[in-house]
Symmetry: C2
Subunit: 127 residues, 2 copies
């Protein structure tokens, strides 16, 4: 078994379609914080930008374990999220489930990309 502190970079990209409410920055913040908590990740900073009334929101969370982001296009009911976590203890799938619960899409398309090839089994990393 690979030690839990080993670097294990996993990057999930998720496209959410048919979301009912995407111009609410408070909702995006709640979704991001809940997703981080679900994944067992540590929030270092959270930054939101609302492009204007009835327009989209960008939210990015800096994590001790990398980052998460959401960008929304309310006029299309579309949101693009990414969840990049390193560390085998952390669970991108749990974060994704949490985002999906908050954004309530009709349909989701996800892509997972393994990030980096750093740690041989047994090696440790600070995170």
């Amino acid at each position: 078994m690979i030690p839990p502190s080993t670097y294990d970079g996993r990057h999930l990209l998720a496209d959410f379609y048919g979301c009912p409410v995407l111009n609410d920055a408070a909702l995006i913040e709640i979704a991001l914080r809940s997703a981080a908590e679900s994944a067992g990740a540590t929030v270092i900073g959270l930054h939101l930008h609302h492009f204007g009334e009835e327009q989209g929101v960008t939210g990015v969370v800096l994590l001790a374990e990398s980052h998460m982001s959401i960008h929304t296009w309310p006029e299309h009911g579309y949101a693009a999220a990414d969840i990049f976590l390193c560390g085998a203890r952390h669970d991108p799938a749990a974060a994704l489930a949490s985002l999906s619960e908050h954004l309530a899409p009709e349909r989701m398309v996800k892509t997972e990309v393994k990030r980096g090839e750093l740690a041989p089994p047994g090696a440790h990393h600070r995170r």
Copy 2:
């Protein structure tokens, strides 16, 4: 030809190996700002976190056109970047070339993911 204002979400994930200097937050900021400029993207906010002396840096840029990020592991000479741009006028490849120039990796592995299927040809988007 698809109008330049059409949503055209492209997400580049790049793993940089063998980078000589990765614990310098100022360098990461310069790399991110130069990458945004190279891509013709508009910076809304830039946020950096330095994990400590000889440790890694996380840098995230909120863009009008989505975001870019860099996470570094100096002890491995490794950096993970992502460049998410929407809008056909913007060029993720130019941003990637700029990041690569600043991080000076021995080797790079990239993955490109098309984000979202929103706009039929002729449709327009605010960005």
